[in-house]
């Protein structure tokens, strides 16, 4: 095969799907063929049966909705705080010097380790779930945006100055629009991470959500349900990622033209 040689869209699709098929086939072979103990791993068919029962009888779609709400709520909260801070840090070096060391430190604090504290402070209600996602996302968003904004093309800034821009005008009409697509891409990336935080938050001190269903199924050895829950998370993540991507494309046609 020639390195870096592009592949046609049709072949790309076929190859992409065929790995899914192989993966499921292998899964079916080791489970239905009796190569692993059914207690530890359900086969694809009973996974689907369990999933159907969950949705129809156990009102699992309510759990799905509540998890989605938590992810987007916490993520929105983090974005509202982090985007302006990140822009400020990238644009004004004293602000960066003031906040960067702390934010760099804080980003390595594991969000999941905060759960016991957050439960003490905020109880086991919705606020605590939102805060876990907030803590997990906010520092990441701040830092990535600060770096992107800090590397704004200097020649564009200089051109704007020679056209009469004030310092304020540079930030609002050069730095912000120049980095808007990158900021949106950052948010898309971090939204993906928020999905892992929400499940952790729901595994501890929760009575609803996909994570709760998963931990609940574990005690009943319902591996079919667990796998179904994991797949649902993956599908929703994939869908929201597609939607986010399409939204970005619609919002910033100039960056792709």
């Amino acid at each position: 095969m020639r390195p870096l040689h592009p592949v046609s869209p049709g072949i790309r699709t076929v190859l992409g799907i065929s790995f899914f098929v192989l993966f499921v086939a292998f899964w079916a072979w080791i489970t239905l063929g009796g190569h692993v103990n059914r207690i530890f791993l359900a086969d694809p068919l009973s996974m689907l049966r369990d999933g159907w029962r969950l949705l129809v009888e156990d009102r699992f779609w309510l759990d799905i909705l509540i998890t989605i709400w938590r992810v987007f709520g916490g993520f929105l909260l983090a974005s509202v705080v982090a985007v302006p801070l990140g822009i400020a840090m990238g644009a004004w070096k004293p602000v960066e010097a003031f906040l960067e060391p702390f934010v760099s430190f804080a980003r390595y604090l594991p969000a999941s380790a905060f759960i016991p504290l957050l439960i003490l402070w905020a109880g086991i209600g919705e606020l605590e779930k939102l805060l876990v996602i907030f803590v997990g996302s906010v520092f990441q968003i701040i830092l990535i945006i600060a770096v992107k904004v800090g590397s704004t093309r200097r020649d564009l800034v200089e051109a704007a100055y020679t056209l009469g821009s004030t310092n304020n005008g540079i930030v609002r009409r050069v730095i912000m629009p120049a980095n808007a697509p990158e900021i949106a891409e950052t948010l898309r990336l971090v939204l993906g991470w928020a999905w892992t935080y929400v499940i952790v938050a729901e595994l501890i001190g929760s009575s609803s959500g996909i994570g709760y269903m998963i931990i609940n199924s574990q005690s009943r050895l319902a591996t079919g349900q667990i796998i179904f829950g994991i797949i649902v998370i993956g599908l929703i993540g994939l869908l929201s990622d597609f939607a986010f991507k399409a939204f970005n494309r619609w919002l910033f046609p100039w960056s792709l033209a």
């Binding site: 020649d155 564009l156 200089e158 051109a159 704007a160 100055y161 020679t162 056209l163 009469g164 821009s165 004030t166 005008g169 009409r173 050069v174 629009p177 120049a178 808007a180 910033f252 046609p253 100039w254 960056s255 033209a257």
Partner: protein, 263 residues
């Protein structure tokens, strides 16, 4: 009175990691008359771009000062329009919005902006491309937009830093004629930096030749070729004589630059 006065302007860059400071520009004196088209010609790295950036206010001189209409230059401003060698159109704005950028920053009402933009779109021959993104344009079209953007502010002086340096030869020739045509019709004080001898002669009413680093003015040559100038001028005997003379001047400096570099 001179439109632009450069008085004893020099620039020294601090040494890297405790090294010797680097002298980029020896003290330079230059007086530019209103509506003059001055080209600054010099070998690469001679500090000609630094000089232009100091006039623009994007860099501060180590010594000396720059006066525009008698006022000292301390920072960049819309009275000194600049066109860069790199493509500096704002990629998130269309051609028309790019040209309107300076007008918007100065708070002109939209109606007035639209009229001015339309006239400059026309001037640089970009009718029909008003709503294109910069990415959709060729290099020559991007630089034409950049020239229109700088001119739309009606600056006192137009500064151009090798604006056609990244273009292919044919496009470059057409761009020279376009810019010269605009200057012949609209009269503007222009400072144009280039390392291309033909370009320097063709465009200028006066060519300033700079020495190798640290740059100073080596010669100051008036170009009395008649206007309007046509591209066929480039093959005339007068043009060739000027070219021969400046080629000699520049060659000596280019040799010095090459020899100064460690092998």
């Amino acid at each position: 009175m001179s439109k632009l006065l450069i008085e004893g302007v020099s620039r020294t860059f601090a040494g890297v990691r405790g090294g010797e400071p680097v002298k980029a520009l020896m003290p330079i004196d230059l007086a530019v008359a209103a509506n003059d088209f001055i080209t600054i010609l010099g070998p690469s790295g001679c500090g000609k771009s630094t000089l232009l950036r100091i006039v623009a206010g994007l860099e501060a001189p180590s010594e000396g000062r720059v006066l525009l209409d008698g006022k000292a230059v301390t920072r960049p401003g819309p009275d000194r329009g600049m066109v860069f060698q790199s493509y500096t159109l704002f990629p998130w704005l269309t051609v028309a919005e790019n040209i309107a950028f300076g007008l918007r920053e100065r708070g002109l009402p939209e109606k007035e902006r639209d009229e001015i933009v339309a006239s400059y779109v026309d001037l640089v021959g970009l009718k029909g491309f008003e709503n294109h993104w910069p990415k959709q344009l060729s290099g020559g079209m991007q630089q034409r937009t950049a020239i229109a953007r700088a001119l739309a502010n009606d600056p006192e002086i137009l500064l151009l830093d090798e604006p056609f340096g990244a273009l292919d030869n044919q496009t470059r020739g057409l761009m020279q004629e376009l810019l010269l045509g605009i200057w012949e019709r609209r009269k503007k004080t222009v400072l144009f930096v280039t390392h291309d001898i033909e370009e320097a002669i063709f465009m200028a009413s006066r060519v300033i030749v700079m020495t190798a680093r640290p740059g100073r003015i080596k010669s100051d040559v008036a170009i009395d070729l008649p206007h309007p100038r046509h591209y066929t001028l480039k093959t005339s005997p007068e043009f060739s004589a000027l070219k021969a003379r400046l080629t000699e001047d520049i060659r000596v400096e280019a040799m010095r630059t090459v020899q100064a570099q460690p092998a």
